[in-house]
Symmetry: C2
Subunit: 364 residues, 2 copies
């Protein structure tokens, strides 16, 4: 069974195709614009598993298919490695029609997307996400970026892919910690947008953990649909789209504070969602039972429910400092995504004292 989720963004519209084994099928790519050359960007972990399959699926469409392999890890999501994509494009005399394929997780997708946005001021690209996290989050919505030593995703572009191919069968080879990290973004869509999906997750978390194909297909599809609905209304993140960052304000502080790569993105978001739910509770928006529901779901997904201590002298101060330089903050004011009721979120500032209490209560 193959699902198609349309992303409606005018002349930048595209489709997300979801199914098992579809990465290796030439039919998955027929809608792409014609070009002589393709460049597959992948990493040294993913390419040995799926590089040949993708190359074979594309062989009839492109007369030359080049490849760039990046090292595997968030710490390589920087200019130096982005440059290696530009080097490959120029050394192979790739023109403006060359199609870039991002075969890998969020790091590969973000870097390939930003390279595609910037090479000759824009060439087409395709996402072939191979992690659960990138299938349900980073491959949808057109955010591309690299990190700066002073902040994550600080340099990038809004740039839409021409196609996203989510092959569910590749998730079987994912390390359990990576898979759990992806579940954090799946869980997120319930509290912010869909109380029914939140209940479905509570009923089906064990099936998801076991990678039951039907459960997985539903979770990925519903996640993409919700993200597509949000992004379709607010492509450039001027308003509504910010709710997708539920758990991310605290989560980014955790990632940055621990040093990128120590906590996985989804692990930071897992603990961050519990903190954001606790903040919502202390703001009088949701009851304590909701916080407990979310904490349990995060725990069942195999994710941390408490944030790490980043500074034993002034832990809350360190979190606040890190959150203030986050690019969602405005004029130094931190914008928190809070849950107004299960299935509905909004963005607002919060008093420092209250945030400090939340951090003190939610870190260990």
């Amino acid at each position: 069974m193959t699902y198609k989720v349309p992303i409606d963004l005018g002349d930048r519209s595209y489709q997300i195709v979801i199914g098992s084994g579809i990465l290796a099928r030439a039919a998955s790519y027929v809608a792409l614009p014609s070009a002589a050359k393709a460049l597959i960007v992948s990493n040294r972990t993913v390419a040995p598993c799926y590089g040949d399959s993708l190359r074979l699926a594309l062989a009839s469409r492109y007369s030359s298919i080049h490849e760039v392999l990046l090292p595997d890890g968030e710490q390589y999501k920087n200019w130096e490695h982005l440059q290696s994509i530009f080097d490959a494009l120029l050394h192979n005399r790739c023109d403006r029609n060359t199609v870039l394929f991002a075969l890998g997780g969020g790091v590969v997708g973000d870097m390939t997307g930003f390279a595609a946005a910037s090479y000759m001021r824009g060439v087409p690209f395709v996402q072939v996400p191979t992690t659960l996290l990138s299938q349900v989050d980073s491959s949808v919505g057109g955010k591309t970026a690299i990190n700066h030593p002073l902040g994550k995703n600080m340099i990038g572009a809004f740039y839409q892919p021409r196609l996203v191919v989510c092959d569910l069968s590749v998730l079987a080879t994912l390390p359990p910690r990576e898979f759990a990290s992806g579940l954090a973004e799946v869980i997120k869509y319930g509290p912010i947008a869909d109380p029914e999906f939140l209940r479905w997750l509570e009923d089906n978390m064990d099936r998801l953990i076991a990678q039951d194909p039907d459960a997985l297909a539903h979770a990925v599809r519903r996640s993409c649909e919700i993200k597509a609905w949000v992004v379709g209304q607010d492509e450039k993140e001027s308003g509504l789209r910010a709710i997708l960052n539920f758990g991310h304000t605290f989560g980014h502080a955790i990632e940055a504070g621990m040093g990128y790569g120590v906590w996985l993105h989804g692990e930071g978001v897992g603990a961050g969602m519990v903190m954001a739910a606790e903040l919502s509770h202390r703001l009088g928006l949701v009851d304590g039972a909701f916080v407990q529901r979310l904490r349990l779901l995060v725990e069942r997904a195999g994710l941390p429910t408490k944030g790490p201590v980043l500074d034993s002298a002034d832990n809350a101060g360190r979190y606040l400092e890190l959150m203030r330089v986050d690019k969602k903050s405005e004029a130094g004011e931190i914008r928190f995504v809070v849950i107004d009721e299960p299935g509905r979120a909004s963005v607002r500032p919060a008093p420092d004292d209250l945030v400090r209490d939340v951090i003190d209560a939610c870190c260990a």
Copy 2:
């Protein structure tokens, strides 16, 4: 007298304001969105002359105004120096509303524009071009970029400024070679779009060289209007906009072949326009008298009318090689802007043998 040229690009529309002494007037900037912080990006040649004036004009609008100075020259239009803009933005905790001001020529404008396009995936920016070249060309149309060791402007974005302030009085301090280089882009607009402007240039070249204020105002305004008309129809350079590259295919080869900075951009374009006119003639499109008219105009502007010899063994081969990696080429096929008749241009490939003859005839 202040002129306003509207650039109509839907929700990315903006105005070019043209006049004498307007850089230093607070009134020039009233239409900008409000923000707490501004960052002026300039270079070590321009900032000592106009940095304080701009800062004063902006003082009432922004509570903090930061500054980054780049070294002066095309060879610094690279990632390393782009990074210094990001460093300044992050060190000063600039948020998404921070307005960037590009105070300088094309290099400063291109780098500031690309930094603004990429910082947090896009912040507002204003062009305050201080060279004739940047006033009539690079500040209009939203092309931003940095160079790659293997090619000029290979990495960049289409990103529109919120405002362009063209102060004609700053041109008086421009070195004569820089001023002449700007005239190349002014001349360009005649052959590609406006035979009447071409005649006006032939009648008024001496006044322009003498920087007569009225002549200068007319030339800058008409250049911006023509560019605005072209860009308004084809923002992303899928078709018509390519005619703005008249003379640039040969010109870029000259710049790259000599090493960036040896020939000024407008010098390459000057010789390149004569070569492109000669090619148009040999393709049977225009008569020899037109080539002669253009050659004379380029010469009167103080620009070279012949290209340099890039390789004494196979000069034409070297030009062809350089032109094939230009980002306007498609699948290795070079796209030339040719003049169909004075005031009308189009883009097409040409036989290698014919191009070789043109290069042989036009280099010394």
